[in-house]
Symmetry: C2
Subunit: 244 residues, 2 copies
DNA sequence: TAGTGGTCTAGACCACATT
DNA sequence: ATGTGGTCTAGACCACTAG
């Protein structure tokens, strides 16, 4: 009841959004029905309907006709360049996915990363370095720094079962993603790790992810330029095509 | 129920969307008011309101309280990696933008491009090659093939005033965009044109754009790897932050 | 002042799912 | 049979813009 200045449907959106953001309503949880919300907020059913409909539009909720409304699974495709877990990308292409965890340890922050993570240099950080392969050929080197406050059990995970991205999305709701895609000259160690040919550039996606005010993770996804690209499409739904 | 299976609000959406897609309602045109639509379709005002509200959500319309609803300017940020005209990107960074048109002519399609454009090799095409500079330093080489059927006056444009992207968006509504970002070794001509240093990679964005069933244009945007990157962010609007 | 969008109401009918 | 979402109605009040 902090601010009563907004509209009724907005109050309901804030109420449900808050319950979901704090985890009180987890993924798959059933949300109060329109009639319950209408009664609870002392409002007409159409008003509750509008609130829920907007949350469906934002993909926060899913509705099943005749059954109820539920908290939608968290999306991991927030980044413009749609970021599926690399394992799915490889398998979708009909290839065999494999990976090896090269490093998984606690590390002091190096100053360059600390700046990016808005943290004090020298504070604790989890670091992982995983090499992802497509048909045994390196396709991505994932260098990741993780905020221990957000994922204290990060070092105990088995990332051959669940990728770090999937794990972190499951742990905390993401509220902000920053990304930067660039092309780099390959350093000596990358040439060896990614098995690059002479002069082959590296395609780098750097991503920083937030949950509320906390930086959750910063990751460099390094790809061999000759064997990887980011691609996708966009369709604007006007006449002739329905938006899904 | 005689005239079909769709819903009333969907009929109104299709009606307005059609008028806009065909250009009958151009950018900035005033669309019928909710009361007019309600009367015209024989529905309650709330139903017309929902239709218009959904088109606003899709950024097809903009509404001004007390005044009316209008056709929104066409977006050019459809691509996941938000594609502002390069001139704006440069100026937003406080630098001086300049460009030179290196090539602007009719060309037969080369087979590689023809395949991408779903066209017969040897058919007519417009080709332009423009070098964009930031503070006199090359920042993007734009190599573009254009479908003459869609933009017959393409060769007569002055692309130092309006970029090809802006011009084409103004001419036809875009319905589909495909993109692919990759890192490439620089060829000899690119090293010279983009003034690349030895071993510096090229960051390439290839984009293909449709209007309906026609390919409008295919473009390669080639950037010096050391001086350019694609970046952006995404925010999920739940508690604490309002979506703009 | 008249028209517009923005919101809200208190009903209603339907198709569907669960029990 | 009951409850759910999906849609729709015929009113209403308000804040705002324009002539």
């Amino acid at each position: 009841m902090a601010d009563g200045s907004t509209h009724e449907y907005q109050k309901i959106i804030d109420y449900l959004g808050g319950k979901i953001a704090t985890g009180e309503l987890g993924v798959g949880a059933k949300v109060p029905s329109e009639n319950e919300l209408a009664e609870q907020f002392g409002v007409a059913r159409m008003t509750a309907n509008r609130a829920v409909r907007e949350l469906v539009h934002r993909k926060v909720l899913v509705r099943v006709k005749g059954a109820g409304s539920y908290v939608a699974p968290r999306r991991y495709d927030q980044t413009p360049v749609e970021i599926l877990p690399i394992s799915e990308q490889v398998r979708n292409g009909g290839a065999v996915y494999s990976a090896s965890v090269r490093i998984l340890e606690e590390r002091p922050l190096i100053s360059e990363v600390a700046e990016s993570m808005h943290a004090t240099s020298g504070s604790r950080t989890f670091y992982s370095e995983i090499l992802h392969r497509e048909d045994s050929i390196p396709i991505q080197l994932e260098r990741r720094w993780v905020n221990p406050k957000v994922a204290p059990a990060y070092l105990e995970q088995d990332f051959l079962v669940e990728t770090p991205t999937e794990y972190l999305i499951r742990m905390v709701p993401l509220t902000r993603v920053e990304y930067c895609i660039s092309a780099e000259r390959a350093s000596a160690d990358l040439i060896e790790i990614l098995q690059l040919r002479a002069g082959e550039p590296v395609l780098l996606l750097r991503r920083k992810t937030w949950s509320g005010l906390d930086v959750v993770t910063m990751v460099d996804l390094l790809h061999p330029g000759s064997r990887f690209s980011f691609s996708g499409f966009f369709e604007s739904g006007l006449a002739g095509e329905r938006v899904g």
